[in-house]
Amino acid sequence: MSKRIDVENLNVYYGDFLAVEDVSMGIDARSVTAFIGPSGCGKSTLLRTLNRMHEVIPGARAEGKVLLDGENLYGPGVDPVLVRSMIGMVFQRPNPFPTMSIRDNVLAGVKLNSKRISRSDADDLVEGSLQGANLWNEVKDRLDKPGSGLSGGQQQRLCIARAIAVKPEVILMDEPCSALDPISTLAIEDLISELKEEYTVVIVTHNMQQASRVSDRTAFFNIQGTGKPGKLIEYGPTAEIFSNPTEKQTEDYVSGRFG
């Protein structure tokens, strides 16, 4: 599992408004790539175009190519639902299904699609996914309790377990730690480092220390002003972006002298 993503000349729109302009970048398989930049620069928007979640918003569309191991996600005849089952997503706020137990939340991708699964296979999948999300030991005795009864950090790991239970190639994370305390954040960051053994991980974050801690490569996005589109300013190995950026804007941002 895990595939590489190549973005070619991608323009992302909300109606007539160009939100992200002309992005081209390559994301390696089995690596962690961080998107950083100021609010409103389009990094979350770009992330959502990578699994065709962007077009869920009325009027939103994208032009250009996103290649998953060479296959264009925006090609004619591509089923966005199939794309989303290959590229999972974890959201900013933990959003377990409130009507389901912890076990059912993990199995949601299977059960909501009414796929048949034997009880022992389901048990294995639940245990494997929860262990993959470092949550198994905390919840193994209360799998039938509602997922909304967990703490925020546990809920977010439950959401990660739910995402990896459908066995995606890529996992996208949209500021997964911004609603969590430092200890839960640490748990998620450790988890991200483990996930990259098997998956391609793309993470949007506002926390530059987090980007430098977890990512192999970092992309810096910026916006010239309100109403202007966001652009990819610099993309490279994380160490270089933070210690020796080539662009002045990047240096200002990562050193806190932005604006």
Partner: protein, 377 residues
Amino acid sequence: MSTASLRQPTSSPSPAGRRPTLTRNQKPKWLVPVIAVAAVVVGAALAALVGFSTALWAVLAAVVFLVAAPVAVSAVEGRRKGADSLMTYLVYAAFVLAVIPLISVIWTVLANGVPGLNSNLLLTSMNGVTGATDNAAAAGDGPVLGGAYHAIVGTVSITFWATLMSVPIGLLTAIYLVEYSKGGWLGKSITFFVDVMTGIPSIVAGLFAAALFGLLLGPSARFGFVAAVALTVLMIPTVVKNTEEMLKIVPNELREAAYALGVRKWRTILKVVIPTAISGIASGVTLAIARVIGETAPLLVTAGFATAINWNSFSGWMTTLPTFIYYQILTPTSPTNPDPSQQRAWAAALILILIVMLLNLLARLVARAFAPKAAGR
């Protein structure tokens, strides 16, 4: 400015010479109760001047209290507290005014209905009950025969058909409006027409159903299903509006979470959105049923009136509890002795209220069974 001068006001004298500032100007605890008692006494005196009656006494006492208490509080605690107490007491008064009719209705129906509530009423129809039997009952020569069983059957079956038709239509319309229309012209016009439908007088809905089946089956087409169609017209807008509101408050995050797992839109709606909103939808449906179960006018023109039991909604006239009550009061079975008829009418009214309460209870149980699980850490 030093930090010391920030902490202490420069004019502050020694604390011993001043009243405690945080608790000054408080009304004594006995003030309001004493005014209340005084208002009751003064109200009684004023009422005696005009001509005493309990209602007048209560009104006058309330008015005296509503004037005196805020004035007294205002004098002790200042204008702001006075206005606060005036508004508080006005809100209480409004609440009491609103509850009086409710309690009065429940009390009257219970007082008049319970004596007539017996096995005869629940298990027999009016078939064969004539003025003679009622006269005999009034004279003390026998029990009050006849009952509302046929009306209960009619109410349950007509409401059942109406619910069976309006809930799927209403539910699917609401799903279209919230999940699919995306603010298009079709969605906007549906919303507009649903709003218009909410305002349709019930007799117009009855005439619509009667005319529709008159066209299809001839002018004398009256049976339970025609009435159910009339009630459906009345129920659909309520179901749509309630369900729409419930679907709107399902957080978008849940839909996105399902999409991100590669779940199709219709499955997301069926298995995530509707289960999350089901408790609200269930109570909305109950409200809609409660709205139509008491309708009288549209049933008279669509289902007619019968004295015998009729389980078949597709043939023969049918009686429901409201039309039963209407006929028992307006045309008593024995014109010379209307008491047995009135007793049956009140008992039927009590049954109608009980059915609505039972439906409410049922909806709550459904809601509890499906509601999002409470946090059980």
